[in-house]
Each structure stands twice: as structure tokens, then as C-alpha cells.
């Protein structure tokens, strides 16, 4: 009988123990929970526009602790990672061009989020070398289904390439492909939003009002995936999914006739005015939900300058409203924190980051950040060391040249040590993929620095070329050029021949021309990291962690449009007709020659000649003789034989047919 209480006790104990163990485990693995955070970075741009950069990050702990189930992390993505053993992957859908000159090209936002128009996909696989292509092909199909886009066109080996070192440091297992002509629309955004735990129903993503975000000047939707640690050092970091949406929007403003002399106010804006919506609270599943407002270094410096000038004049009028506004502008919401950039060497003012937490806002008290300018201000964004642009040279359908031109933005001079400027060098990495029908002759590479042609060996530091193979693989060029720091401008040109495509290889709308995807220009010596404070707590904010990453500055060049020779696609009918005619003539005459018996024919003609002749033909030959003014020749002469082919029968037939035709015509009308 004593057994029962003992068993009960044991059971109780077991339960308690389990409880304890479970809670223990839960306590121990706080960081192993799946996390989601949502952030929005706003930044006024010098040309009266506003940059809005949404950043959503979902982390999944390593598989071992969680099995195959996820709380927050999208299962589709984790399956993708598992299936294809993706180490890193990035997919971006972009519409419009990033204006490097006006919107900057140096800091992390453009460097990471300015993407070429259309679709860009690259992925690093953790599979043996020979399986990479197969994995890539399957991945493109999977993504194509997932995002409702024609990413599956990247499956063909003519459309992707395997860069060695020009694009990404990961070598060997990287594949890269772009679709410049892919149109981006809300059907691509919806599946992307589906990966978020709150979709666009709550939290910051509720701002994504489709008409307003697609009305923008630039729209880039990106998905970056860092896979689980399949890497050799055994550090298991789980999957990190970063979803960003970068849009450049124009705040509504009243159009006023402006003259050059008039001072211009930057447009004031608020979240409602640019998105038409407000944020009513955060997504409850999000660990953090933050909105940032960033002011550029140059803008801060400009404001300080203006302040200094004005303080002397209106010193008594200055009333600070705490953090709520800096000099010259006013924010409608009090920021929770103001962070200042910690910058090292360069001696400009730091950029400012106003941090707003959305969590405390709710339906009744929605978050609607607004910025009102009080003084006119003009500034410019920080540029990449060189401004790269690419264009086509030449005309006609035969050959041409690609030129990449670099203009110095004078950044390098003050970034690098000014004392060593004569000897210093500025390395530029170029990665360019060219479709096979643009047959680039890589030996024709010419580099001009400051309008002087340079010997290739002097300028080119490292080059790797894999020439295109017709209908098999695109041409790819990775190159590091070393320019002197004091250089003003440089041009690199490559000549090419335009190839011919088979008629069924032409895409729809072939007469538009063919695209050469953007080249990727990166500057290995320049890093686009921005650090805000040394506080460890800030590292928990993913967007700031992202800003701190030491990535080199990257920019993309324009997509080029090459007009190729295109056949007249309405022509096949004509071609068929003429081919058939030629075949008929050829075979007809061949058969004629083969089956002809000369002797028999002559006999036949002789018998026919005997019967020949009639009054009408006689008359006709006389008539023709009169017309030509020649004496009437005897019928035996060759001319008369020739004229006699207008026999009476023929004339009769013709007249008959013509008569019938006329009569028929009149009776039918």
C-alpha cells in the first residue's frame, strides 16, 4: 500500500523537476529565442526628398534547440536554407535608380541598399563544388515561386556567373545573377510582407501604403539571409533574415514659382504626409520597434554654421526645447534618445540620430513623426570616393564599346592622409557581367587617367576574366584598378562586337534592345561604417549593428541598353513564301532537266509546227512589223517565231477571261 504514495510522490517530484528544469532551460536560453525587430530610418535628402528605410530582422536560433518548428521565423525561408544549404543569400527587387550624386554613396544605407534596377540575386552555398550549380538552379525556382517573380530565368547558365573575388569575399561557392528588366510591383511585396510576423497589419510595416511607396523615386525591397553556421569553425549562429525596404519619397509640397534668388525651404513632412498612414503601436511580436531620424554630417555641420551666424544676431530669441528640436527644425514627437556619431579621423561634425520608440504608442495615441523646417538649409550627402558611370560608345549594329568613367569626388584627398597624397593609390574593384551576345574583347581594355592613356600594367592591379561562351555562359570580368589619389577623372573602355541571336532566342520586345547588367564598383580601402556611441546596449538594435559592420563602399553603375540587329518578326511569312518559291523553281527545273528527252520533244514540236498558223497571228505579225518599222519578215526567221507565240487562241482566252471578269464585277457590285 505504501507503494502508491511513493509513486505519487515520485510523479510529483518528476513534474516539479521537469518544471524546474524547463524554467531553468528557459532562463538559460534567453538569447536562443527567436527574435523579431522592426525599425524605420528616416533621413531628409538634399534634393527635397525623404529617404525611408525599413529594416526588419528575424533571427532563428540554431536548429538543435528548436527542432523544425518556429515561432516567428518564416518556415519557407528556413526550409530554403535547409534544403539548399545556403550560407548567405541576398535578393533585391528594385525600381528606379539610386541617385548617387544627390542621395550620397558612402554611408551604409546606400552602400548596402542601393541596388541595380530589376532583380539581383546572389547566394553562397555550403555544398561541395560540383553541386553549387544544381543548388543555384533549384534555388532560383524556389524563389521564383516564393516571390512571384521570374527569377527562374536566372536558371539558365547564360544568365548567372560565378565571381571569384570581384563581388564578394566568399569564393568558389558564390553565384550571381541579375534580371535588369524585371518589373517590380506589389505582387512582389506581398509575399515579402508575408514573411513578417505581423505582415503589414501592425507595427511599423503598417506604414506601407502601396500607392505611396510605389509613387516614390526609388524603391528597393531586399531580403538578406545569413544561413546557419555550416562554417568550419563550428560557431552556430542560426539564421538571420534581414528584410529591408528602401524608398525615396517626395513629400507633398505646394508648388510655388521659384526663382534662383529666392531662398528655398526644404519641405516639411510627417509620416502621414509621406505615407498617408500613422503607426499605431508596435507589432506585439517584435522585440524592439524603433524609428530613427538621421541627419547627415553635412547637414549637421550646416545647421551648426547657421546657428553660429544667427546666434550673434538673435541671441536672446534662442529658446531650446530640449531634445525636441535642433536648430532650424522642429520635431513633432520628442525623441527618446539622441545619438551622436563616433567618428574617428575626419574632422567634420558627426551625424545625428534621433531615436523614437514606438512601443509606447497605441491606437489612441498614434505615432506620427513630423519634421518642420524653420530655416532654409542646403547641404550635400557624402559621396563615394569616385563617381562611377558607365555608357556605351559607337553607333551602328556592328560594334561598340563600353566605357566606365570615374570622376573624383575629392573625398579621397581628405580621407586619406594628405601628406602622402602624391604616392597614395586608390584601388577600385570592378565586377562586370556581360551577356554572351555582346562579345567583349578583353584585350582591348584601355585606361585613361586624367586624359592620358596609361599602360595597362601600370593601372591594373589584378584582373580575372572569364570570356563568354556562345549560348553557354556570359562573359565576366573582375578587376582591381589602382588610380593615383590626385586623379580627377579616369575612363576604362572595352570594345565589343554585337552578336547574332537565333530567331527563337529573341526575347519579347526584342526591338527595344538588350540589357547589359550593372557593373559593381567597390572601393576596398573605404569602409562604410557608422558608429553611434560606444554603448553596448545599442548593439541590440539591429540597424545600428548593421551600420557598424565594416563593409567596403559599393556602388552600381547604370544598366546599358544595346540595340542589336533584330529580324523583322513579321517576316517569317515572307521568308516561307520566298523559300517555297525558290524550292519550287529549283526542283522544277531539276526535274525538267532530268526527265527531258530532247529527240522526242523535237518530234513533238515538228508535228505541232505543221499545224501552226492562222489568220490572226498573220495579222498580228504584220501589225508588229509595221510598228517596229522593219520589213515584213518571212515566218521562218527567228523573230517571227517569237512573235507568233501570241496565238489567236491565247488572245481569245485573254479576252474571254477579261470579259468574264468585267461582267462578273459589274453584276456583283
Amino acid at each position: 500500500m505504501a507503494v502508491r504514495p511513493l509513486r505519487q510522490f515520485l510523479l510529483l517530484y518528476l513534474i516539479l523537476f521537469c518544471r524546474f528544469f524547463y524554467s531553468n532551460a528557459a532562463l538559460g536560453s534567453v538569447t536562443d529565442e527567436e527574435e523579431f525587430s522592426e525599425e524605420l530610418l528616416l533621413r531628409p535628402l538634399p534634393d527635397r526628398k525623404v529617404l525611408a528605410h525599413f529594416h526588419f530582422e528575424t533571427r532563428a536560433p540554431p536548429t538543435a534547440s528548436n527542432g523544425r518548428h518556429h515561432h516567428l521565423f518564416p518556415k519557407a525561408i528556413s526550409q530554403l536554407v535547409q534544403k539548399f544549404r545556403i550560407k548567405e543569400m541576398e535578393l533585391s527587387f528594385t525600381q528606379g535608380r539610386w541617385n548617387y550624386e544627390r542621395w550620397g554613396g558612402f554611408d551604409p544605407v546606400p552602400s548596402n541598399n542601393a541596388k541595380p534596377p530589376g532583380v539581383e540575386l546572389w547566394a553562397v552555398f555550403d555544398v561541395p563544388h560540383y553541386q553549387v550549380d544544381a543548388s543555384w538552379k533549384n534555388l532560383t525556382h524556389a524563389l521564383s515561386g516564393l516571390f512571384c517573380a521570374s527569377i527562374n530565368f536566372l536558371e539558365s547558365s547564360t544568365s548567372y556567373s560565378a565571381p571569384q573575388w570581384g563581388f564578394h569575399s566568399a569564393s568558389g561557392n558564390l553565384r550571381y545573377g541579375t534580371l535588369p528588366r524585371e518589373a517590380v510591383c506589389t505582387e512582389n511585396l506581398t509575399p515579402w510582407l508575408k514573411l513578417l510576423p505581423c505582415r503589414d497589419k501592425a507595427g511599423i510595416s503598417a506604414l506601407m501604403d502601396r500607392p505611396s511607396i510605389y509613387k516614390g523615386f526609388y524603391h528597393s525591397q531586399r531580403l538578406h539571409l545569413t544561413g546557419k553556421g555550416f562554417d568550419s569553425d563550428g560557431v552556430d549562429s542560426g539564421i538571420v533574415l534581414q528584410q529591408t525596404l528602401t524608398v525615396v519619397l517626395q513629400p507633398n509640397e505646394k508648388r510655388t514659382p521659384v526663382t534662383s534668388l529666392e531662398t528655398k525651404f526644404q519641405p516639411s513632412w510627417s509620416l502621414t504626409s509621406i505615407f498617408g498612414r500613422k503607426v499605431s503601436g508596435s507589432c506585439v511580436l517584435a522585440k524592439s520597434s524603433t524609428v530613427y531620424l538621421q541627419l547627415d554630417r553635412d547637414l549637421v555641420a550646416e545647421l551648426k554654421n547657421l546657428q553660429k551666424h544667427n546666434e550673434i544676431a538673435v541671441a536672446e530669441n534662442v529658446n531650446y526645447e530640449g531634445l525636441r528640436s535642433g536648430y532650424g527644425f522642429q520635431l513633432s514627437v520628442e525623441p527618446d534618445k539622441v545619438l551622436e556619431e563616433v567618428n574617428g579621423s575626419h574632422g567634420t561634425s558627426p551625424s545625428l540620430l534621433y531615436v523614437f520608440s514606438v512601443e509606447k504608442h497605441s491606437e489612441s495615441e498614434p505615432f506620427d513623426l513630423g519634421l518642420t523646417w524653420k530655416i532654409p538649409v542646403a547641404w550635400s550627402c557624402q559621396q563615394a570616393p569616385l563617381h562611377a558611370s558607365r555608357f556605351l560608345m559607337g553607333s551602328g549594329n556592328e560594334r561598340g564599346a563600353i566605357a566606365i568613367s570615374f570622376e573624383s569626388t575629392r573625398l579621397s584627398e581628405w580621407l586619406l592622409h594628405s601628406d602622402a597624397i602624391d604616392s597614395c593609390e586608390l584601388p577600385v574593384k570592378i565586377f562586370q557581367v556581360v551577356p554572351w551576345y555582346i562579345k567583349v574583347y578583353y584585350h582591348t581594355l584601355q585606361v585613361y587617367v586624367d586624359e592620358q592613356q596609361q599602360a595597362i600594367s601600370d593601372v591594373v592591379d589584378k584582373i580575372h576574366v572569364s570570356p563568354s561562351e556562345d549560348k553557354v555562359s556570359p562573359g565576366m570580368m573582375e578587376m582591381i584598378l589602382k588610380f593615383p589619389c590626385r586623379m580627377k577623372s579616369a575612363v576604362a573602355t572595352l570594345e565589343f562586337d554585337k552578336g547574332f541571336l537565333h530567331i527563337d532566342e529573341y526575347p519579347p520586345d526584342a526591338n527595344q534592345g538588350f540589357d547589359i547588367p550593372s557593373a559593381v564598383i567597390s572601393y576596398p580601402d573605404f569602409y562604410s561604417s557608422t558608429q553611434f556611441g560606444d554603448d553596448k546596449s545599442l548593439e541590440a538594435l539591429p540597424i545600428l549593428a548593421k551600420f557598424q559592420e565594416n563593409n567596403s563602399v559599393v556602388s552600381y553603375t547604370e544598366v546599358l541598353l544595346v540595340p542589336l540587329t533584330t529580324p523583322d518578326f513579321s517576316m517569317p511569312y515572307n521568308v516561307i513564301t520566298i523559300t517555297c518559291t525558290i524550292f519550287a523553281l529549283y526542283f522544277g527545273s531539276l526535274l525538267n532537266v532530268l526527265r527531258r528527252r530532247v529527240g522526242e520533244e523535237e518530234r513533238f514540236l515538228k508535228s505541232k509546227d505543221a499545224k501552226k498558223g492562222g489568220p490572226i497571228s498573220q495579222f498580228l505579225s504584220k501589225l508588229s512589223a509595221k510598228l517596229t518599222g522593219r520589213p515584213l519578215e518571212t515566218p521562218q526567221s527567228p523573230t517571227s517565231t517569237s512573235s507568233s507565240f501570241i496565238s489567236s487562241k491565247l488572245i481569245l482566252k485573254v479576252v474571254l477571261v477579261a470579259g468574264i471578269a468585267i461582267v462578273w464585277h459589274f453584276y456583283l457590285e
Binding site: K215, R255, S260, A378, Q453, Q636
Partner: protein
């Protein structure tokens, strides 16, 4: 019919047809030539109405967005521009700065393009080669440069692969009211386009500095756009020219004042280009729009481009659209009579069956012919009719729109209305081109216009030319056959065993061919001579022409002595009765080949050349024979021959044509030289045609005419 010899077997029908045609070559050639000329005169009646072939264009499907606000701003711009004229110093540079400032205020990317107009030089080896800038080395002086101002509006959501170009030529030294208005029209459109969201292609506004010619500025910009030079040789040495540096010190008082980019801005592949000009012609009835489309060597832009302009101008903005016509033809009596004749024929036809649409009103017919003649003439000349011609060299479709307002535009209300309508027209055209996904390819490239809304396509106008040249091979064959027959019968009468005789007989055409070849060789020498004459300094056109003429004659005799004398000597020994006939037949074949080749390169040149050459070739006969016979018909033929040979001589043709259109009192011998100089400056194939086909043929005809037989 005594069967003395075996009857020759009947030949196959196609051979028989050939023999028939050859044997009746005279009547055949008369019929064909008449039909050819008639078909040419019938073209206005056969012309079809234009239609918009590319569905994507959708002209006029959207309401114009250009508002009075834009027009007011454009007005302010025009006023500021004209106000510059009163300023004393360097109005050229000032105006470019003003334009750049206005562009920049619209948010466009602005840059200046400095250029030196290319010196027209005759490069015999680069006649057909694509324009390139590599060969030009020049000592640059600051006074001789132009500065184009280029503004680029990027399509907000476009991918920047394509661009549409707007060109407004203006003289930076002295801005006229009309030019300022054309700039104002373009400005109103540009300011609208910098705000709209529907743009898919970038817009380039090129304000070309036309002080060295409208074409030169545009072509210099296009050359730098497509074939830039990266070495220092090419760029203007900025340090020595203070004017140019002055451009860049921007007054930085404006807040938006970014520095103007010191380089060359580009924007994708060009889809189409519109050149906008306003002329102050004070039209009496309506606002007029003249369309100029002919580019070098008779190339035309795609018909769809003209169609959308015509459609929008007529149906949306109420312009009177015109294309160039030969005014002198409009009041010619015989054309009116012909038109009335065709009209009455058309009435008869329609009375038989109302569904047969043949014939147009006589007035329309005259206008059609005048337009057609001008279209043919401009294409044949091979010289572009405006700055749009520069675009065609880079396979870009372009036209010039010449707007001329009714009455004078001094009244501000009139001016606003004019700007609004002109701007809306251009906005509509750009909207249509912007809709275009592919480049222009759907509609015709080979056509002649008979009115802005009517065209003759290649399939129709080829008939006239084919009929015209068809007699040449026929008559050549018949002459050859006759000559062979005659000689063989002569030989038969002589001793048959005359071996060298038969050998020479078969070689006879070779002699003639050699002669023809020598003359053609001479023709190419003549067309190369101007290159050397150009090297002579300080020459007037008259002197050059006389030198050219004398050198040509000299070279002719030299060549004939060196190359042709052995054969002429051989010919003396074996005098054939119809040696001239063989020569004529070979000449005709060569002319036929030349004309057909030319019709591929430039149809209109071939057509006009054919009208001159074919009758001359067909009728050429030795004078002596005609005089010997002395009947009325032969004498009239003689007179006809002489007249045609006189007309056929290129300088005479030129003088006659010029006299017919401009009056004879202003004609100078040097004019022909100037004309020829312009032909090679534009690298017109017509020049080659005159040197290599027309002139040799004319010389050979003269040779036949004075043949001693």
C-alpha cells in the same frame, strides 16, 4: 512556205518572251518610259493616308497637363532671355548661364558642352565612314567655339536606359524673339516633365549654340555623346579661354546652387529627338507647323514619328501642318491641267463604280506634286534639311518642328496661347514616344510624303523607277544582238575562213567595255580632283570650278591617249559598221547597273538621275548618220539628242534648275562649285553618283553622238 531548212524548234516561253521584248525594244522602251513618267506623276493619287502603325504610341490618349502656370514661367524665361540682349558684355556666356540656372532650378542635371565646329574637308577615303573625331587636329582659338547647354531630367522611376532629346537651336550672340520663344516652348515642356511621374525615359534638353550653324552644334554634341575622345588633344584648353572659365564661377547666393558639373552628362540610348524652332513668318491664317524630316542621303525617320506629330498638331492643338513643297510648281499651268485631267478621269471612274476611289481634286494634286517634288529633291540632294539630320547618323529618329505663329507674337496673350499650344504638342509627342517600349520599327522608313497626312511607300514608288530603267537592258540587248547579226552576216558574205575576224568579232564588246571602263575610271578621277583643288589656298569658287573643269578635260585626254589608244588603233583596221551600237549597248548596261545601285543607296537620286539619263541613253545616235539621212524624223532626233546632251551635263543641269527656281540673273559659275562643295561636306552619295555614273554616261553619250561611222 517552202521547207528549205529544218524548222527551228520552238523555244521555251520565258526565252520567247525575252526574244519578243528584245525584238520590239523600241516600242517597249517608248511604252515603258512613258509609263515610268506617268507613274511618277500618278504618285500623289496613289498616295495612302498615313496611319499610326505602332499601337504602343497611343497619341492623344492623355489630356495635356501643361498648364498656364508653366506658360507663365516660360514667359518669364523668355523675357529674361531677351533682356540679356540689352546688356553690353558677353551676352553669349550670359545667356548660357541664364539657361543653365533655369534648368537647375527645375532640378535638372546641367552641364555645358564646349565644342569647335568641325571644318568641312573633303576626305576621299572616309566618304562613307561613320563620323569620327579622331582625325581632326586643329589649332584652337578661343573666339571660334560654341557652348551648348545640356539639361537632363531623369525619369523618376525609369531605369535610365533610354532618353528622348529635345533640341532648341539659338544664336547665343544675338537672341531673337522667335528663338527665345522656341526656348520658352521647350522650357515649359521641360519644367512640366521635371515634375511628372509617368516618365519612363530620361529627357535631354539640348540648347544648341547655333552661332556656327545649327547642324554643327548638334552634331558636335552627338559626336561627343557617342564617340568621345579621352585624350587631352581633343578638349578645349580651358586655361587660355577666360570666357569658358567664367561659365563655371557660379554665383553661389542661391541656396540650391550646386556647382555645375564640369564634364559630359549622358543618359542612355536615344529613342527619338525633336528639334523645335520658332520662326517669325507672320502667317495670315493660322499657327503653322512645318515638319522637316530629310536626313543625309535621303534617309527618313520612321513614319510613325511624323504621324504622331501630324495627328497631335491637327487633331489636338489645331496647327496647320505643312511639309516643304516647291512653291514654283504650285502655279504652273500644265500641272493644273494635268490635275484637272486626272480629276475628270477620276470622276468618270467613280461614275462607273462609286467604290473605285481614283483621282483627287486638281488643287490637291498640284500640292501633292509640289510636295513630292520637294521631298524627292531634298532626298536626292542628300543634304539634311535641319539639325535633325545629325541624329540619323546615329540611327536616332528625329524631326524638326518649325512653328510659326499667326500674326506677330508681340501681344502677350497671343504669345501665351502660342506657347501653350506648342508646349502641349511637344508634351503629347514626348508622351507618345515615352509610351514606346521598343524603338521605332513598326512603320515605314522608305517613303515619300505628298502631304503631311499622305505618303507613298517604297512598294509604290519603286514601280515608277523600275518602269523607267527597264528599257535600258532591253535596248542594250537588242542593239548587241543586231550588231552581232549584222556583222556575222557581213562576215558570212566575206570569206568564212577569216580567222582573226571572228576572233575580233567576239572580242568587240570587250573593246567597248574597255572604253566604258576607262571613262568610268576617269569619272572617279574627276570626283577625286576637288580634294587636291581644296589644298590650293586663296581660291574663289569660280577659279576652283574652272581649275576643276580644265583638269578634268586634261585628265580625260591623257587617259584616253594612254589607255584607249591601242584599241582605237585596232579598231581602225577593222572598222565595223555598227561599232557605236556595241558601245552604246555597253554604256547602257553600265548606266543601268549604276542607276540600280544608286536606287539602293538613295532612291531619289536614282529617280531624278534616271529621268535625265534614260532618254539621253536611249536616243543617242551618231550625228553623221542622222545628217546623212536628212529626213525630218532624223533631224528632229538630232535636235532632241543635242538638247538632251546639253541638259544632261551636270553643271548645265544645275544652272537650269537653279534658274528655274531662283531666276537666272543671280547665277554665277562658281555656284556649281559651292554646291558640289556642300555635297561632299555632307558626304552625300549624290556626289559619288554624279562623278561615277552620271558624268561618264554623259561623256559616252557625247562620244556616241560624235562617232564617225
Amino acid at each position: 512556205m517552202a521547207e528549205t531548212e529544218a524548222p527551228r524548234p520552238r523555244q521555251r516561253p520565258i526565252v520567247r518572251l525575252g526574244i519578243f521584248l528584245i525584238s520590239h525594244s523600241f516600242s517597249f522602251s517608248v511604252v515603258c518610259c512613258t509609263a515610268g513618267v506617268l507613274a511618277l506623276l500618278l504618285l500623289p493619287i496613289l498616295a495612302k493616308n498615313t496611319y499610326i502603325s505602332e499601337n504602343a504610341l497611343m497619341p492623344g490618349s492623355a489630356n495635356p497637363m501643361l498648364s498656364n502656370q508653366d506658360v507663365l514661367e516660360a514667359n518669364r524665361f523668355v523675357k529674361d532671355l531677351i533682356a540679356l540682349n540689352s546688356k553690353p558684355r558677353g551676352s553669349g556666356i550670359e545667356s548660357q548661364r541664364l539657361i543653365a540656372q533655369y534648368m537647375k532650378d527645375l532640378g535638372a542635371e546641367v552641364n555645358y558642352h564646349k565644342f569647335h565646329p568641325q571644318i568641312t574637308q573633303f576626305h576621299p577615303l572616309q566618304f562613307f565612314s561613320s563620323p569620327d573625331s579622331g582625325t581632326v587636329e586643329r589649332n584652337i582659338s578661343c573666339s571660334f567655339h560654341g557652348v551648348n547647354t545640356v539639361g537632363i531630367t531623369r525619369a523618376p522611376r525609369g531605369d535610365g536606359k533610354e532618353a528622348i532629346v529635345l533640341v532648341t537651336p539659338y544664336n547665343s550672340q544675338k537672341i531673337k524673339q522667335a528663338e527665345a520663344l522656341s526656348l520658352g516652348t521647350a522650357y515649359s515642356v521641360f519644367s512640366l516633365l521635371s515634375r511628372v511621374t509617368w516618365l519612363a525615359k530620361d529627357i535631354i534638353w539640348l540648347v544648341s549654340d547655333s552661332q556656327h550653324g545649327e547642324y554643327a552644334a548638334v552634331s558636335a554634341w552627338l559626336r561627343d555623346y557617342h564617340i568621345p575622345m579621352f585624350t587631352r588633344l581633343h578638349t578645349v584648353n580651358a586655361e587660355t579661354c577666360p570666357d569658358i572659365n567664367y561659365l563655371y564661377d557660379v554665383r553661389d547666393n542661391s541656396v540650391t546652387g550646386r556647382k555645375i558639373y564640369d564634364g559630359f552628362k549622358r543618359a542612355g540610348t536615344m529613342a527619338a529627338a525633336l528639334v523645335i524652332k520658332v520662326v517669325d513668318r507672320s502667317e495670315t491664317f493660322d499657327d503653322n507647323l512645318n515638319i522637316y524630316a530629310e536626313a543625309s542621303n535621303g534617309q527618313m525617320p520612321n513614319l510613325d514619328l511624323i504621324n504622331i506629330v501630324n495627328y497631335l498638331a491637327v487633331h489636338r492643338q489645331g496647327f496647320r501642318v505643312k511639309v516643304e513643297k516647291l512653291w514654283s510648281l504650285l502655279d504652273s499651268k500644265w500641272l493644273k491641267n494635268l490635275g484637272e485631267l486626272f480629276e475628270s478621269v477620276g470622276q468618270v471612274v467613280s461614275s462607273i463604280n462609286p467604290q473605285w476611289k481614283f483621282g483627287i481634286p486638281a488643287a490637291d494634286y498640284t500640292e501633292g506634286i509640289a510636295t513630292l517634288a520637294s521631298s524627292l529633291y531634298n532626298q536626292a540632294l542628300g543634304v539634311p534639311t535641319g539639325p535633325h539630320g545629325a541624329f540619323r547618323d546615329y540611327q536616332v529618329d528625329a524631326i524638326t518642328l518649325e512653328l510659326s505663329p499667326r500674326a506677330s507674337v508681340d501681344k502677350i496673350i497671343r504669345q501665351n496661347d502660342f506657347l501653350l499650344r506648342g508646349g502641349r504638342l511637344i508634351e503629347g509627342v514626348i508622351l507618345s514616344v515615352n509610351n514606346l517600349l521598343e524603338k521605332f520599327h513598326q512603320s515605314f522608313f522608305l517613303y515619300l510624303l505628298t502631304s503631311p497626312g499622305k505618303f507613298v511607300s517604297v512598294g509604290v514608288y519603286m514601280i515608277a523607277f523600275a518602269l523607267l530603267v527597264a528599257p535600258l537592258p532591253m535596248v542594250a540587248a537588242s542593239l548587241y544582238a543586231d550588231a552581232i547579226n549584222l556583222n556575222s552576216s557581213q562576215n558570212n558574205e566575206k570569206t568564212v575562213a577569216d580567222e582573226p575576224g571572228t576572233a575580233l568579232r567576239s572580242l568587240k564588246w570587250v573593246n567597248a567595255a574597255k572604253k566604258v571602263f576607262v571613262v568610268h575610271l576617269w569619272g572617279s578621277v574627276v570626283s577625286l580632283l576637288p580634294y587636291f583643288i581644296c589644298q590650293i589656298p586663296n581660291r574663289s569658287p569660280t577659279v576652283s570650278f574652272i581649275i576643276w573643269f580644265l583638269l578634268s578635260v586634261l585628265s580625260f585626254f591623257i587617259m584616253f591617249l594612254i589607255l584607249a589608244s591601242p584599241f582605237s588603233h585596232a579598231k581602225e583596221s577593222q572598222l565595223h559598221l555598227r561599232e557605236w551600237a556595241i558601245l552604246k549597248s555597253v554604256t547602257m548596261s553600265a548606266t543601268f547597273i549604276g542607276l540600280c545601285l544608286m536606287s539602293v543607296i538613295n532612291f531619289s537620286t536614282a529617280e531624278l538621275g534616271g529621268l535625265l539619263l534614260v532618254p539621253m541613253c536611249l536616243m543617242a545616235q551618231p550625228m553623221r548618220r542622222d545628217i546623212r539621212v536628212g529626213s525630218l524624223s532624223t533631224l528632229s532626233r538630232l535636235a532632241y539628242n543635242l538638247v538632251f546632251c546639253l541638259i544632261g551635263f551636270p553643271p548645265v543641269t544645275f544652272v537650269l534648275l537653279k534658274g528655274a527656281f531662283e531666276g537666272f540673273n543671280s547665277i554665277n559659275v562658281g555656284d556649281f562649285w559651292c554646291w558640289v562643295e556642300s555635297l561632299w561636306a555632307w558626304s552625300s552619295a549624290t556626289y559619288l553618283y554624279i562623278g561615277m555614273v552620271h558624268l561618264p554616261c554623259w561623256v559616252l553619250c557625247i562620244h556616241i553622238l560624235f562617232h564617225h561611222c
